[in-house]
Structure formats: structure tokens, C-alpha cells
């Protein structure tokens, strides 16, 4: 148990630091918060290219595919150091974290040759087309149809909750190729060109005002059979490869919130006196602090496992469950402290630039996107603790016969 580097780690870290100091740009905006923003997208692509050229883009990937050919611990260190700089938004996460690794694991040689290097360099962006309106948490309920037509497939249907669809070049698509067999057996994975005219992307207007997600519609989208990723009917198994890679993407935490609410408390009075001295608030701050710190050190444990070359398990699911609820609770508490004033969401008037009002409107999405609280608890219960699945009525019947309530 040691927070200090070994000599080898220290040497690598120092090399990374020098490079970052010399090369890291200042962030001028966030790509993933807006819809279309060519300037910040260009900035993001430029930064990715620069990292790729220095071997820092995908540190552990083989050099022949554009990666750094390095060890897991080097990837961890680069990530820590990069986080100390203001870098551009990252529209490459889904492609490099999930889609491209799937192509690398399951795809054919031509696809690997064609896609990996441009993705690492940031020249091409990918999105993941799994979720559907009728499916929600149930990815295997996909209804988007792919029908064989000679050497082509013709695709019709709709995906939803697709991050970055509007700026993506390619998409990894899970489609139903046989509705007459049980749901997990009748799907196939494909890659598609997002710029095809038969693909329509519509932003989803969220309650927070942002549009981080899209609906994607396919109308007679015609693709080649060579765009298949894995065998016909193997779509579910391929999707598991993709989703397993998702786990490895270790997200940031909800740390520091206690500092913000402390700042608020110093400016505000309760009926009994200064809010910063209010024992009720102080207890809550302590509770939030141990949760945020607990998550932080849980991530350190995961990073330790990663840097030892181990694959972290589903236990990293706890991060979002804890931090989303914490964010919602903290925002609500802050608004209670602001009392009548709390309703004001104008950043020029509300305390701390309305950060708690913003958090209040964003928190519901946090508790849902990327797996609801409920689904994540199922995952923990089943995959970590080994408890049985709930009774499944949808496993051994033809997909078209599964009850849907319609």
C-alpha cells in the first residue's frame, strides 16, 4: 500500500509530464456538451493526433496499429497526468473504448486494417448503436431489422440514446436478423457509415436543455455483407465483447462537491445561524465526503489492478450508482439551504453560478443513462454476488412471441 511511484514508474511519469507540458493545449470548449461545434471538434482531433504520434493515444495497443505498445501501468500514469491538464473534449471514448476494440477482437483483417489506425489518430469517430425505444435496459430486445438481399443487407428501424451520433463517421450496429428464434439468438452485428443518406440523426432534447444523445433512424439502409462484425446470429455475443470493454473505461468521480457546498454554506444563514456551523449540514457533508472518497479510493484499487495487468470486474458499477444519487441529494440540499432563492437558475444571480440548479436538472439523467440504478444493482447482485437472475419469460420463446404489452 503505497502512493509513491517505483523508480520505473517515476521515470515514465516524468517523461509524460515533460511531454504534456510541452504539448497539451488549453481546452477552449467541450465537444460533448454541444451539438455541432466544428472548432472544438477540430481541437479535439488535433490533440488526439498529437497523442497518437507520440504513442500516447492508446498506450497499451500494439504499435503496428497506431498504439503505444506500452504496459497497463503506463496507461494509468498517462491518464493521471493528462487529467492534470485542461485538454479538449473527448469524442473518441466510445469508439476507442468499445467499438474499435470489438472490431479488433471479432472483425476481419480488412476491417482492422481499415479502421483501427484512423480511429487511434482521431481521424474517424465511432458511435455505438445498441439501445432501442422498446428495449430500454434490455439491449437484447433490439427490433431494428436487417434483411438479407443477395450480398447486401437492408436495414430498417430505430436506435436511441446514441451519444455522438451526429458527429460520428461510423457506427457499430446491433440488428435483428431472425425474429423467429429466441431473442438472444437472432441478432447480428454490423458496422455502418453514419454519413449514408439512409441514416437520419435527430438530437434528443433533454430536460436539462442539453442534447447529449440522439435518435438514429434507418430507412432502407443498404450495406454489404462484408460489413458484418462476427457471424450471422452472433450479435448478442459480439455485443458482450463491446459491453465488457465498457467496464474498462474508468470514469471520473463526484469528488469535490463537498467543497462547493461548503462555499455555499459560508455565505448563507439558517434559522439557527451560519449554515457552515449547522450540524445537520455538517453530518451530510461527512456522509457525502466518505462516499466520494470511498469511490476515489475504489478507483485507485481498480487502477492498481489494471496496472498489475488484471482486468477489473463488474464491481466498478458501484461508481455511477453512488455518485448520481449523491449529486441529486446534494443539489436538493443546497437548494433547501438557499431557501426561496433556490428556485433561481440564472447563473448570473444564483449562488456559485447556479451550479446546484444545473446539477439538479442533470442528476436524473445521471441515474439513468449508461444503466439505470436498478439495472446496475442487478449487475452487482448477479455478477459480483452470484445471486440468481430474476425469472425470465423471454428466453426460450421466439423473439416475435415475447410479450410486449402492445
Amino acid at each position: 500500500m503505497d502512493f509513491n511511484d517505483t523508480a520505473e514508474e517515476a521515470a515514465y511519469r516524468s517523461q509524460v509530464r515533460s511531454w504534456l507540458t510541452a504539448n497539451a493545449p488549453r481546452k477552449s470548449g467541450r465537444v460533448d456538451s454541444g451539438l455541432e461545434d466544428p472548432a472544438s471538434m477540430e481541437e479535439a482531433k488535433a490533440w488526439q493526433r498529437k497523442k497518437a504520434e507520440a504513442g500516447y493515444a492508446c498506450v497499451t495497443w500494439p504499435k503496428e496499429w497506431g498504439g503505444g505498445g506500452g504496459a497497463s501501468w503506463q496507461s494509468v500514469i498517462f491518464g493521471q497526468e493528462e487529467a492534470r491538464h485542461e485538454t479538449p473534449g473527448n469524442p473518441f471514448q466510445i469508439g476507442l473504448g468499445m467499438c474499435v476494440p470489438t472490431v479488433m477482437t471479432v472483425g476481419n483483417d480488412a476491417d482492422k486494417e481499415r479502421f483501427v489506425r484512423p480511429a487511434v489518430r482521431g481521424d474517424e469517430i465511432w458511435c455505438q448503436l445498441f439501445s432501442e425505444p422498446s428495449g430500454g435496459s434490455d439491449v437484447a430486445a433490439a427490433r431494428t431489422r436487417a434483411v438479407r438481399d443477395g450480398d447486401d443487407w437492408v436495414i430498417n428501424g430505430q436506435k436511441v440514446w446514441t451519444s455522438g451520433a451526429h458527429y460520428s463517421d461510423f457506427g457499430l450496429l446491433l440488428a435483428r436478423t431472425d425474429p423467429d428464434v429466441p431473442k438472444h439468438k437472432g441478432m447480428t452485428m454490423f458496422w455502418i457509415n453514419m454519413k449514408d443518406a439512409a441514416v437520419e440523426v435527430r438530437p434528443i432534447h433533454q430536460m436539462s436543455g442539453a442534447s447529449n444523445f440522439n435518435e438514429v433512424y434507418f430507412t432502407d439502409l443498404r450495406i454489404k455483407d462484408s460489413q458484418r462484425v462476427g457471424g450471422v446470429g452472433e450479435g448478442w455475443r459480439v455485443s458482450l465483447v463491446t459491453l465488457m470493454n465498457e467496464r474498462l473505461a474508468i470514469g471520473g468521480g463526484a469528488g469535490g462537491g463537498h467543497r462547493t457546498i461548503f462555499k455555499l454554506a459560508q455565505e448563507i444563514s439558517t434559522l439557527a445561524g451560519p449554515a457552515a456551523k449547522d450540524a445537520g449540514l455538517r453530518e451530510k457533508i461527512a456522509d457525502w465526503f466518505v462516499q466520494a472518497e470511498g469511490l476515489k479510493y475504489t478507483r485507485y484499487r481498480t487502477l492498481t489492478a489494471l496496472s498489475r495487468g488484471q482486468v477489473p470486474g463488474p464491481e466498478s458499477s458501484i461508481g455511477k450508482v453512488v455518485s448520481a444519487a449523491l449529486m441529486q441529494d446534494m443539489a436538493n440540499t443546497a437548494l433547501e439551504l438557499e431557501d426561496q432563492f433556490g428556485i433561481i437558475s440564472d447563473p448570473d444571480l444564483a449562488p456559485l453560478a447556479a451550479s446546484f440548479q444545473t446539477a439538479l436538472l442533470a442528476a436524473p439523467g445521471m441515474r439513468i443513462a449508461g444503466g439505470t440504478d436498478e439495472i446496475l444493482r442487478n449487475i452487482i447482485a448477479e455478477r459480483v454476488l452470484g445471486l440468481p437472475q430474476d425469472v425470465r419469460l423471454d428466453k426460450d420463446v421466439a423473439f416475435k412471441d415475447i410479450p410486449t404489452g402492445r
Partner: protein, 371 residues
Amino acid sequence: MDFDFSDDQKFLKSEARKFLGAHCPVSAVRAVLDRSEKAYDQDLWKKVTEQGWLGAAIAEEHGGLGLGSVELCVIAEELGRSLAPIPFSSTVYFVAEAIKLAGSEQQKAEWLPRIARGETIGCFATVERPGVMNDAGVQARVEGGNLTGVKLPVTDGDIADIAIVLAKSGGQSGLYLVNLSDSTVGRQTLQTLDPTRSSAKLTFSGTPAELLGEIGEGLSLAEAVMNRAAVFLAFEQVGGADRALEMAKDYALNRYAFGRPIGSYQAIKHKLADIYIKNELARSNAYYGAWALDDGAAELPLAAAAARVSACDAFWFAAKENLQTHGGMGFTWDVDCHLFYRRAQQLGLVAGGAKAWKERLVTQLERRNAA
């Protein structure tokens, strides 16, 4: 003992539900949400006026229906269910109640009939800065009958005709009645969490102001008004929480995942049971508040605080878990969950947040225990 609405009150309730079902569908609420120039639903306001609801708890001699507070609670619950986007609470629960409570005969005769007729929209302006309403927070001053200062947020301040303003004169707090048509009044519409209920910053620069009640009693009168408003608001909150539960239930019955309705999973069932439990507790506490208000009971401050604490908890929980039950659809703009999520905050903050009311509640408890 009879701890339920009377048959007449139940009839009023069912009529109110029918009326609002016809005249206040969610599309009417969305119209106010989506169109920033639309501060409230003027058609609905007119129709509500015609129903006599504005004067339900105003005496007949002042042009009201002369019903009791319980009848107003019945109406409030239905307004809460339907998220009615009108300045009802400001005008009726705050301003009319303040005038009934502290106004002179002349002030009552001047303003209550106008309120009952729907001619006068009121607003209640007490705070100027973040944090609870307290003596130190009152910077607005009245000198020589003229008010100077800034109040925000003031619910319905952008559309109101009159305001009741907490201000100080000679170091003592008082409530003042102010005609907002005066040219010395500045108004700026505020951006808030719930655009279906408008809110403003009011600036007074030597605006004529008329004392309501005695000088020196401003803060305690404001609190007395808030106690009354808290009970009515609790009914609005219970109405909203019930509707949120119904939305969640309907969705859970019709949405299928893994081949069965999500309402058959315990995670959803128990969540909805918990909403039901909080709603029932809130309803019962609100009933007691209604009784205390109607009866003029000495327990009102305690009963009002209990009603408010319970109702704030229930509506917030119901609104956020209804949204959660809807999954991805829940946090889109087009699905109605966020309207309830926003309104839960609006109602939860408009008379001050639950934290402050818990402190008021316990202070009352201490007094009762000491007695």
C-alpha cells in the same frame, strides 16, 4: 370525530377535477413552459375566476363564496394535480390570506373583492438574498411612506398588480401593500427551475407603500401568512405527488422489459409502494393542517410545519422516482416527468425550504413540550 372531507367537499373535489381535466390538460402547462413570453395561462385564470375559486375562502361580504379553508384545500389539491400554470397560490394563499389576517376593514373591502373577481393578481415579496427569511435579510426600507429596495425571487412578480412586501421602517419590520403599476417599480423576469410558474426581481425606488398590520410585526405576520400558505401548498404538493405516482404506475403497467411489465419487478413495485406511503403520510398531515387552519386552532404553527415538511418530502420523492421509473424517456423534454420534478422544487421552495420548516417544527414542539 370525522377526519375526512364531507360529502359536499368531495363533490367540490370531483367537480374541480373534472373542470381542470377539461381546461388544464398538460398541453396547457407545456404552452407556458415552451413559450417564454407566456407567463401564465390567462384563459385558465379567467375560467378559474368564473368558478369562484379565487374567492372560495373569502367572506361573502367581500365578494367571496364564504366557504371554509378546507374547501380551499380541496381546490388546492386539484390545482396541484394538474400543475395549473396560474398565479393562484400567490394571489390566494399568500396575498388574500395576508389581507384577511392583517388588513384593516378598509383594506379588506378594497382588495378582497377585486381578488375574488380575478381583477387583481397578487404576489408576496419577502426575500432579497439566498438563505432563510430573517431580520438581517430585510434591507428594503420605507421612509415617508415610500419603499426603496429590491426583492427576489418574487413568484408572479412579473404579472402581479399588487405586492405585499416585507420591509423596514425606523428599524422595525412591517408588511406593506404596494401597487405595482407605479412607475417607480422595476420588474425583471427571472430564469428559474420551473418556468411554468413565473418569477421576477422587483426593484422599488421610492414607491408608495401602505402598511398592512402593525409596524414591528412584519416578520411575525409574514410567518403567520406562511403558516397558512404552507397548508394550502401542502395540498397542492399532495395532489402533484399523487399524479406523479399515477404516472409511474401507468408507465410500469404498460412498459415491458425482458418480456414482462416493469411493474412486476420488485425494484419498481417497492419504489412505488414507498411513494404511496409518503403520499399517504403527507395527506394525513395535510388534513390535520387543514383542520387546524379551519378551526383556528393554536396548533396551527406546528400543524402547518408538519404538513409542509411531509408534503415537501413526498412530492420531491414522488417526482424524482416517477422520473426514474420512466428510464431514458423520463429525462427527455417531451415526456412530462420533468414538469413534476420542476414543480416539486417550485412548491418546495416558494414558502421556504423544508430544512427551515423542520427547525420551525421542532421549535414549536419544544414550546408544546415545555407547556
